[in-house]
């Protein structure tokens, strides 16, 4: 209900940590609270008509409890601290994970809290306790996204009042383009063959990194047998080498122009898939979008740079 009140929509975003103080906590009576007022009015009427002081007393008591319950409602979320731990980067079409830390620095138990973005979840928090909360937000499009408003609310104790605090974190989160389906192989340029060939040579050249030994099995290359250990009478082993990408002069380019899809978003999706696959396989890959390119490399930084470029890509419109 209160979400639609314009007045409360004013922008007061927070960076990371927010303490629910009097500026952030709002309070309004609920329908139950309003009908309780009607009840109090009825009690007053009875007291008035019969001129009965004890009826007055009961009406006064109920009014006082109603007034006091404002404070107790307010107290139920007042002083809580909400901290944005972070949100992971996500591919469009997936759920972004938002991690929050809700802590209760006060020395009263908080029961009956509701917290959530669009749907609220119930929880309670003991005194001086904190709880890590994880929310999932569905992300439709790539690019920067503002975080939705998160609302902490409570109707404790009687449900006569609802207190709430809308919080919008200023931190934005990045959504990469949607991942294309698996069946788009990397634009390899005969890479399989050349790698294999290199492996064949490597044992002779000895230039590649030794990885370890493996018991010989039929079909293994004779060239790779570790003759030294055989001579010691330890049995037949073959040497294994780690494929060292830097040594390879093979270059993989993930280029916007290589994509097969027709529409821009689909092309980006395909590129995205390629980047993910290439990184998974530990290959060095160059990356190129119209107006943006990265030299072949691998690793987290490179990977993230590519994905960021994809997420934020805007085609240049030429007249």
């Amino acid at each position: 209900m209160f979400k639609n009140i314009r007045f409360f929509k004013r922008d007061n975003t927070v960076e990371k940590v927010v303490d629910l103080n009097h500026q952030r906590v709002f309070i309004l009576p609920t329908n139950k609270g309003l009908s309780f007022l009607v009840l109090i009015a009825i009690l007053f009427l009875i007291a008035f008509v019969y001129n009965n002081n004890l009826c007055y007393l009961l009406a006064f008591l109920l009014s006082s409890i109603f007034l006091i319950s404002i404070l107790h409602s307010y107290q139920s979320i007042f002083g809580l601290r909400l901290e944005l731990i972070g949100c992971n980067k996500v591919f469009a079409g997936e759920m972004a994970e938002v991690n929050l830390l809700l802590s209760n620095p006060g020395n009263i138990d908080r029961v009956n809290l509701n917290i959530g973005f669009s749907k609220s979840n119930k929880l309670s928090l003991g005194k001086q306790k904190q709880k890590k909360l994880t929310f999932f937000l569905f992300v439709e499009k790539r690019g920067w996204h503002r975080m939705n408003k998160i609302v902490i609310s409570s109707t404790y104790p009687f449900g006569f009042f609802t207190v709430w605090s809308p919080i919008r974190f200023s931190k934005k989160y990045l959504a990469y383009p949607a991942l294309a389906s698996d069946n788009c192989p990397l634009p390899m340029m005969d890479i399989e063959e050349s790698v294999e060939e290199e492996l064949m040579n490597s044992s002779i050249a000895g230039g590649d990194d030794f990885y370890g030994l493996k018991t010989y099995q039929d079909g293994d290359a004779i060239k790779q047998i570790d003759w030294k250990s055989f001579a010691k009478g330890q049995g037949l082993y073959i040497k294994q080498f780690q494929k060292n990408a830097t040594a390879s002069n093979q270059q993989l380019w993930l280029d916007y122009d290589f994509t097969t899809a027709s529409d821009l978003e689909e092309k980006l999706s395909q590129l995205c898939r390629w980047v993910v696959d290439a990184e998974k396989q530990g290959l060095d890959y160059g990356f190129s979008l119209p107006g943006f390119s990265l030299q072949p490399s691998h690793g987290l930084n490179h990977y993230q740079q590519c994905l960021e470029a994809l997420a934020l890509y805007r085609p240049v419109v030429i007249d």
Binding site: S35, L39, I46, L61, S64, L71, G79, D109, P157
Partner: protein, 649 residues
């Protein structure tokens, strides 16, 4: 969306509601009570098995039955009983069909109305305590309902805290909220709950029934000294006419104006009479009332009457002069008060002549009759033999034992035979003093009858023939032990038994509490309120509202502070105090860096300000102890706070 409400929560609510309705069992029709509790039990059954859920048509049928029942009770729509019945019926029906959260909220609200209606039947302290208890219980049930937490303990704790905080505001509202008397047309016909007291017909024997009753009739609080006991005759019905068997009041009592002028002398006695609900119109006052509330009527029998029967406790400010002269008798009075049912029997005439002898003076005859009662084996008893035929003659010549009614009627009869105007006055005599509250409590057992004789130059004069036989009114052998404390004089018997004394004392305390309760709670309205508030300098509705608002907001502010202040933990407090220390250093240019620990900061600060080195060390040491070391208590914090407060950079 709505999840099912836990069974235990519903039980909590239903139990609270059942408790709220319970005190009504004394005063609502039994059929209604059965109807309500059946519905409640039905709802309990639904908890155990869903198949008991009533069908729609069944609920409609039950509603129809309920309406028929209400109709047949013939109570109408308005008024206390009708309203109560309607609310209880509605509550029962609502309980049966309650399922969702809102339903139970409505049930609770209805229950609060029913709780309020309890006060229309009883306004005792006990009832208030009971209603307070069930109200808390119902609120606690509401908390469990709202939180969906079936553990009642935190809810009960919460409501107790809240009630404790609400009570000061309630008290404030109670005393300061302006009371306005409702207009008359709003006063619905209220059922008479008054206890029956003195009857308007005296028939020897009828007062005796009251002799044992300890029901309170009225209280009297004197401004100043309580008059001596021989003056404490509280005037009630005055009986002038008799048919030999019954004595009744005369109809000729409205001629006060034609009567002679009343002359009063001596010191007036000011007192407040607080009457319990009464059956009759009489306001019991001491002779002779001169100042009294305007709505009361004083008639030719010198009675004070309330034209409307006081259904509720009411109190009246009265001033009486104990010494007076009513002056001459009118003809009507004379004939009324010398009236005899028939020619007296010869024995009676003979007795009167014997007693009178040669002396014609009324005074002489009166003292002769007193002597006659005293010297001829007349005795006092509350259980006299039956005297159905010719009661006066039987009493005078055969039974020779009886109580005040017998003596008074016989006395008056004898005087009338001698043609002396006399009449029987009934009312209450004496009373027991409440030492705690210093007021008199007059109970039904204090009922009495005495005589009034008109004497030349003196007017109507009171004589109590009973005192001739029982100076203590009740002779000991006939005394029930429970009436022992009631004495003609107020001297509390110094009881040898400590326990009994304490019981008496406790009884006094309770009576006094009840008296103050009546004074300050039940009757706190209108005039009383404005009087009380003006003693605080608050006069007029406007300033009442003004002060009420100011004080309520002040209290709310106080509670806001109390409630929201608790939020800070110890760590925060220590940190804040330390921050003050840092701030005062910052003012002189020694600024603590973010990453600097207290110890490092202290080292640096001491270098910059060697003059403060000692204090800085001390405060830092305390801070580190409080913040990081085990076993630091509140005293350490206080010491730390002191150090910081006295620190000046």
């Amino acid at each position: 969306m709505e999840t099912e409400i836990d069974r235990r929560i519903i039980i909590f609510i239903l139990a609270s509601v059942a408790l709220i309705v319970l005190p009504h069992s004394g005063h609502i029709p039994i059929s209604l009570l059965v109807f309500f509790y059946s519905l409640l039990i039905w709802r309990f059954c639904v908890l155990w098995d869903k198949k008991w859920i009533p069908k729609k048509w069944l609920v409609s049928l039950l509603s129809a039955i309920a309406i028929y029942q209400l109709y047949s009770l013939n109570q109408g729509v308005f008024g206390r009983d009708a309203g109560t019945s309607i609310f209880i019926t509605a509550l029962g029906l609502k309980i049966l069909e309650s399922n969702k959260e809102q339903d139970f909220y409505l049930v609770s609200y209805l229950a609060f109305v029913v709780a309020s209606s309890q006060f229309l039947y009883s306004q005792s302290i006990l009832m208030l305590g009971y209603i307070l208890f069930v109200t808390c219980s119902l609120f606690a049930a509401l908390i469990t309902l709202n939180t969906k937490n079936n553990d009642a303990k935190p809810a009960i704790k919460k409501i107790l805290t809240m009630t404790a905080q609400a009570i000061p505001i309630t008290v404030l509202l109670f005393f300061m909220f302006p009371r306005i008397d409702p207009p008359d047309w709003l006063l619905f016909n209220q059922q008479n709950t008054a206890v029956s007291g003195l009857s308007d017909t005296l028939r020897p024997g009828s007062i005796s029934k009251l002799g044992f009753s300890h029901d309170l009739v009225f209280r009297a609080k004197f401004k100043g000294k309580i008059p001596p006991v021989q003056d404490l005759y509280w005037r009630g019905p005055v009986f002038s006419q008799t048919d030999g068997l019954n004595w009744t009041e005369t109809n000729n009592r409205h001629f006060l104006r034609q009567m002679d002028k009343l002359v009063t002398y001596g010191q007036p006695s000011h007192y407040t009479v607080m009457m319990e609900p009464q059956d009759g119109h009489w306001i019991f006052t001491l002779d002779m009332p001169t100042v009294y509330p305007q709505k009361l009527i004083k008639n030719g029998l010198f009675q004070l009457l309330n034209p409307t029967k006081p259904k509720k406790r009411k109190q009246y400010e009265i001033t009486s002069f104990l010494k007076f002269n009513t002056g001459k008798l009118t003809d009507t009075e004379y004939s009324d008060n010398t009236q005899l049912p028939a020619q007296p029997m010869p024995e009676v005439t003979q007795l009167v002549n014997e007693l009178k002898g040669d002396n014609d003076s009324a005074q002489f005859l009166i003292s002769a009759i007193f002597h006659h009662f005293k010297n001829n084996d007349f005795s006092y008893t509350l259980n006299p033999p039956v005297m159905e035929i010719n009661p006066i003659e039987t009493f005078l010549f055969k039974a020779r034992s009886g109580f005040c009614g017998h003596y008074a009627t016989a006395f008056v009869y004898l005087l009338r035979v001698a043609n002396i105007p006399a009449r029987v006055v009934s009312g209450y005599q004496g009373g027991s003093i409440n030492k705690v509250g210093n007021f008199l409590e007059i109970k039904q057992s204090d009922a009495h009858a005495w005589a009034e004789v008109w004497l030349e130059n003196k007017g109507w004069v009171r004589f109590d023939p009973t005192s001739a036989v029982a100076p203590d009114q009740f002779s000991e052998q006939n005394l029930e032990s429970s009436t022992a404390e009631k004495q003609k004089n107020f001297e509390i018997i110094e009881n040898k038994n400590l326990f009994n004394r304490w019981v008496t004392r406790a009884g006094d305390v309770w009576s006094n509490m009840d008296y103050e309760w009546q004074q300050w709670i039940i009757h706190y309205r209108g005039e009383k309120q404005s009087k009380f508030l003006s003693s605080w300098g608050i006069t007029g509705i406007k300033s009442m509202f003004y002060w009420l608002t100011v004080l309520v907001f002040f209290m709310l502010g106080l509670f806001t502070w109390v409630i929201l202040r608790n939020q800070k933990t110890n760590i925060d407090k220590v940190l804040m105090t330390y921050q003050r220390f840092c701030d005062s250093l910052a003012k002189v240019g020694v600024i603590k860096r973010k990453a600097e620990t207290a110890h490092d900061f202290a080292l640096r600060a001491k270098q910059l300000r060697p003059d403060l080195a000692n204090n800085i060390s001390l405060i830092t040491w305390s801070y580190i102890n409080l913040q990081y070391k085990k076993d630091s208590g509140i005293d350490d914090f206080k010491a730390f706070k002191k150090q910081v407060n006295s620190f000046k950079a």
